[in-house]
């Protein structure tokens, strides 16, 4: 009997329990998701590559181990997808870019290796914006595989650059997926697709084997159905890796879940960032305020706060330009950027190479000022909150330069300072498009973001809603 939606849309936690008790077969579960990848996945452009043979082999191995009483942990036998910027040995790793269609690497990225060691089952490489949007883009179609379609409304985009990862979780094609964020690439797709997405503290998850876009801004993190699922995955991903120069020492990089002390809602201090998404559709702010009101009713303190002014956006921009100009220089110099899809991406790299060194240095100095200011702010708050994105999902043919230009200080500062953040669903627009709220924490307080989101998800069912049949 084929597995139904109640299974395919179940959380990592629930599936794990069934797998452990042998009420569910990893092979059967994997086959069900693979079948769905061919139908729904293809319809929404969610996958760049389906790793069918690898998935079946990993699922079979997991089944044998679990049957023999060997239990690796909560991801044992758990299917997942990984953004196509992560190396998977001898499978295409295209970075979403047409000129790299034939690229195959001879090793697994550290996060892939860790997930393999945990017994997880790789279903495929998820579609993404070309070069993770690193050279700029203007249209949702900026990908070698075309625009990923939003499961909630296929005429809308998923947002980027972890487009396929969000679409896959949202459409019930896998219980979790791996994405990456340089500036918004986990939080925005999570918000627009109605899933939970966690951007870990910078340095907590190794980038070894991941496409480099910006060495001091890139982070890798999970997208899943619930905040708790994100934590379960992060626990596996986190840890020091000598192959990544940005990796934190093990004592800081490791993520222990559940935390020794789980803060009760009555001790939570939440700062509502008044500038975030200001001027967007009223439904977005209203949904976020309603979510905070639920937390307040559980005993949390919620206080409006203004983010300190500063050149945070220009500093983040300049760092990203300069680092992308260096990291992607082989593509720029060779002229391969001319094969990219988006008109902005074809030219952006030429401009990035011209960023003066003195300005890059100035941006790094501004970054330290920002980090210190944020650390002071977090004396008063456990988490800062605001809309994940000021607007719901944009149309597939939208010129992204023409959408409203809403303030995003949490996005700029959160990424500039390497702070953790989570986006979780908190409602829908009248058009039935998901709305997300984000919680940003102090450096290394990823657990505060997760537990705050868990308190919200304990009181709501937004994260349990499923998109209409595709």
């Amino acid at each position: 009997m084929p597995l139904g939606d109640d299974i395919l849309f179940a959380s990592v936690r629930d599936l794990s329990e069934k797998l452990r008790k042998r009420e569910l077969s990893p092979v059967e579960l994997t086959d069900a998701y693979l079948e769905r990848a061919d139908s729904t996945g293809a319809a929404i452009n969610a996958y760049a590559t389906v790793t069918r043979d690898l998935a079946r082999a990993q699922a079979k191995k997991a089944e044998q181990e679990i049957s023999a009483g060997f239990w690796r942990g909560p991801l044992h036998g758990m299917p997942y997808a990984a953004k196509d910027l992560l190396a998977v040995r001898w499978y295409p790793t295209t970075w979403g870019a047409a000129p790299l269609r034939a690229q195959k690497l001879a090793y697994d990225a550290t996060v892939i290796q860790k997930l393999t060691d945990a017994g997880a089952v790789l279903l495929g490489k998820s579609a993404m914006v070309e070069l993770a949007g690193g050279l700029g883009y203007r249209f949702p179609s900026a990908s070698a595989t075309g625009a990923a379609k939003n499961p909630w409304n296929p005429s809308r985009w998923t947002c980027g650059s972890s487009s396929g990862s969000a679409a896959i979780v949202s459409a019930g094609l896998a219980p979790f997926a791996i994405g990456s964020e340089t500036w918004g690439s986990i939080l925005c797709p999570s918000s627009h697709c109605g899933v939970s997405g966690l951007r870990p503290t910078y340095g907590r998850v190794s980038r070894h084997g991941a496409m480099a876009l910006s060495y001091t801004l890139d982070k890798i993190g999970p997208l899943a159905r619930t905040a708790e699922d994100c934590a379960l995955v992060l626990q596996v991903l986190a840890g020091h890796d000598p192959a990544d120069e940005g990796s934190l020492p093990q004592g800081e990089a490791q993520f222990v879940w559940p935390p020794h002390e789980k803060p009760s809602p009555s001790r939570l201090r939440i700062g509502w960032v008044t500038q975030q998404g200001k001027g967007g559709p009223p439904a977005v702010e209203a949904a976020c305020r309603a979510a905070l009101e639920l937390l307040r009713k559980q005993g949390a303190s919620v206080e409006p706060v203004a983010i300190p002014d500063g050149a945070w956006v220009p500093a983040t921009t300049v760092i990203l330009y300069a680092e992308a100009g260096s990291a992607l220089r082989p593509l720029i110099r060779s002229g391969q950027v001319g094969e990219l899809v988006d008109p902005a991406a074809k030219l952006g790299g030429y401009l990035y190479e011209t960023i003066p060194a003195a300005d890059f240095e100035t941006a790094q100095r501004v970054r330290l000022v920002a980090q210190k200011k944020m650390d002071v702010l977090f004396q008063r708050f456990d988490v800062l909150a605001g809309p994940s994105v000021g607007e719901p999902a944009w149309a597939l043919d939208q010129n992204l330069d023409t959408v409203a230009d809403l303030p995003d200080p949490l996005g700029a500062l959160g990424n500039l300072c390497g702070l953790p953040a989570i986006s979780v669903p908190c409602g829908f627009t009248a058009d039935k498009l998901p709305i997300g709220i984000q919680f940003v924490g102090r450096a290394l307080d990823d657990a505060a973001c997760v537990t705050t989101a868990m308190h919200l998800q304990a009181a709501t069912d937004w994260h349990k809603r499923r998109p209409p049949a595709l």
Binding site: G184, P314, T316, L347, Q371, Q379, D405, G411
Partner: protein, 120 residues
Amino acid sequence: MSRLSRREFAGGAAALIGATLLPARVVADEKTTPRAQASSATPAAATPTPPKPLTAGQAEAEARVQMIVARYGARISAADRSELVRMSNDVQGQLDRLRAFPLDWDDQPAHTFRAPRRRR
């Protein structure tokens, strides 16, 4: 990437409607010329108005495009050049804002990335 961030750092994201086909200075010269020709019947218009001097930021934005053309000229079409002018102006806005931020001489860079935490 969020929409704002994309706009901020995507280079070509800040669209200036009404594309030019040449770098800003050249365009400024060309805009002057037809206007002068059209009104050449009047004595006052007989002397063409000299182009306005570029601000430092405009000059820098233009120099950036010229550097790209010098380096990659064979790949850069007229339409690309126009696009680069727009993108360069956007970058200039970011650089100007960054440079205006007050820093003390002992504000050091965050080269060795760390995540500062104070004791509570």
